[in-house]
């Protein structure tokens, strides 16, 4: 049961603080949508509004065209995976997965639980207690619990951030595969750009309560809509000389270059160097380079590609 999600002019404030400000969004059926944002930008509040744990002050939430704004969470037919998975510690793996089916009074609970367990490769641990299984397994159990009742919409709140680095990469690609196989609508919240890049069909960048830009990650990187996006998206912030923005790799270093910087530091990432330097007027820049420079060296470069922003930095 695949559904689209529409948020219409949502607002929510706590006391005097406006956490969500006039936020609108449409997520298409079967889309993997990523909400990206630094902490404190209202990501978790947005999720709580969609789930129904919190009520918006203004605006509407529609799932498949149906207004669910005032419905309690258990009437919205959506599934959620929390950052810490929120597995019921007093139930075993099997009972955890069966819980939503029981609550919805579904039939054939046993066969449904076993089927989803097999799909996710956790049929061996069904009788184990939650405390006995690894972080990666916990994540799968949480996912199984979400999938099993075939909801209209999946919400995932940083579900990969509790895994250690190695498991995280495999879990990430697996998650993408699962979503494609299910062909369901996923709304995935994260502060990790790599996850946004790897997973999202489209990425919405949340900034002080509303979306600064909604686009595929590549587009955000190559063609940021605002300076803030340019600054936020990417391993390194975009360089700015006045209102002209360019990425560290959109440059060529050579004696004939039009600009000159003094090198402050250089860091090496996988054999490629990123040179942190300062222009004469004090502007800090980062350049990508194939060779190393020492502190105090002067480097000339030209900008090969850029994007001009209307407002001044």
């Amino acid at each position: 049961m695949v559904a689209k999600l529409e948020l219409v002019s949502l607002s929510k404030s706590y006391g005097k603080i406006d956490v969500i400000k006039n936020l609108s969004l449409e997520v298409g059926a079967g889309e993997f949508f990523v909400v990206l944002g630094p902490s404190g930008t209202g990501k978790s509040t947005l999720l709580k509004l969609i789930v129904g744990i919190e009520q918006p002050d203004e605006g509407k939430i529609l799932i498949d065209g149906k207004d669910v704004t005032r419905l309690p969470p258990n009437k919205r037919n959506l599934a959620m995976v929390f950052q810490n998975y929120a597995l019921y510690p007093n139930l075993n793996v099997y009972q955890n997965i069966a819980f939503p089916l029981k609550m919805h009074r579904r039939r054939n609970i046993d066969s449904k639980v076993k089927k989803v367990a097999q799909e996710l490769g956790i049929e061996e641990i069904l009788e184990k207690r939650i405390q006995q299984i690894s972080g990666g397994q916990q994540q799968r159990v949480a996912l199984a619990r979400a999938i099993v009742r075939n909801p209209a919409l999946f919400l995932l709140d940083e579900p990969l951030s509790n895994l250690d680095a190695r498991v995280r990469y495999s879990a990430r690609s697996e998650l993408k595969k699962i979503q494609e196989e299910l062909d369901e609508t996923f709304l995935f919240v994260t502060h990790d750009q790599k996850e946004a890049e790897a997973l999202g069909d489209r990425v919405g960048v949340l900034h002080s309560g509303s979306f600064e830009q909604v686009a595929p990650y590549r587009e955000l990187y190559e063609n940021p809509g605002t300076q803030w996006i340019g600054d936020f998206v990417g391993d390194f912030p975009m360089n700015f000389i006045k209102n002209i923005g360019f990425r560290p790799e959109w440059t060529s270093i050579g004696d004939s270059g039009e600009h000159e910087i003094m090198v402050d530091t250089s860091e090496s990432i996988g054999g490629i160097f990123f040179i942190h330097g300062t222009l004469k007027d004090g502007t800090s820049l980062i350049l990508k380079s194939l060779r190393r420079y020492d502190v105090g060296d002067s480097v000339r470069f030209s900008v090969t590609r850029s994007r001009t922003f209307s407002e001044a930095p």
């Binding site: 744990i53 969470p73 258990n74 959506l78 929390f82 510690p89 609550m103 919805h104 009742r149």
Partner: protein
């Protein structure tokens, strides 16, 4: 830890104090035991009783039960019944109140906590008399249920504080997850929250139970005709002569299981429970 504990002199102090305190803790228990088990000619029937009796006997126990066994039995079951009603009611009312209090805005919540806390300050004896007069009219006077309803006042605020601490330690996400999984509010409360709160519920139940088992003031004023154990023991202890032996035997019978229970469950009885609700 960097400390002075390696210093042997400090260690001597620690052990000296520990032994001293243990001695005084155990001394009254020892005296209760010898009054119960030594012949009265070595305990209460002489001016200077033997500090260490030379003879032990079961005569006191046998006499006590022969004389008033049924009275003791009635009091025992009355105490038991009352304590169970008190503890069960404390959990029933306390669990819901604590859940609600944890979720209310701070200002409302502190007012309500204030009311609960304030109610514990009202002296039992002050309200026991009006309550007993009311209960006389309502037919609750001298009943287990009536007594339990009164004792609940002493127990309930403490139960609420303990359970607030327990419920606070359960991650909110589990509750939210359960709602998303389709559970209604009350299903969440009873199927998810309640099982997770079991450790706190057990300790609240036991404390309520113990407090009721020990409660004297309401028992004396609301149920004097068919007394509970504490009041029965008082009736024997306050009269001189042979019946003090009966009182002591009863007291020992009542005390031993509770001491054992207290020691076994000592990990549940923590000062933090008392303070968590108040300091918060």
């Amino acid at each position: 830890m960097v400390s002075e504990y390696n210093n042997p002199r400090t260690r001597y102090y620690i052990y000296a104090v520990a032994v001293f305190v243990s001695f005084f803790v155990l001394l009254p228990i020892y005296i209760l035991v010898i009054i119960s088990f030594a012949p009265s000619s070595q305990t209460i029937d002489i001016y200077y009783p033997y500090l260490i009796p030379t003879k032990l006997t079961l005569v006191n126990f046998i006499n006590s039960f022969r004389g008033v066994g049924t009275l003791l039995e009635a009091a025992f079951f009355k105490s038991l019944e009352t304590a169970f009603i008190v503890a069960a009611l404390a959990i029933l009312l306390g669990f819901h109140a604590a859940f609600g209090l944890n979720r209310l805005p701070l200002r409302v919540n502190s007012t309500l906590i204030g009311i609960l806390f304030f109610s514990t300050m009202i002296p039992s004896i002050t309200i026991a008399i009006p309550i007993s007069v009311t209960f006389l009219k309502a037919g609750l006077y001298d009943t287990s249920v009536g007594l339990a309803l009164a004792q609940e006042l002493v127990v309930l605020p403490l139960t609420v504080f303990i359970l607030m601490g327990t419920l606070d330690s359960i991650p909110k996400q589990l509750e939210q997850q359960s709602r998303v999984d389709g559970a209604s509010f009350f299903q969440t409360l009873y199927l998810v929250i309640f099982p997770l709160a079991v450790p706190g519920i057990v300790s609240a139940f036991l404390l309520s139970w113990l407090m009721s088992w020990d409660e004297f003031t309401f028992a004396a004023l609301i149920s004097p005709v068919h007394p509970t154990l504490p009041f029965l023991i008082y009736l024997y202890a306050s009269s001189r002569g042979g019946s003090i032996l009966t009182g002591a035997s009863f007291a020992l019978l009542v005390t031993i299981p509770v001491i054992v229970l207290t020691i076994i469950l000592s990990k549940f009885i923590k000062g933090g429970y008392l303070t968590s609700g108040i300091t918060g």
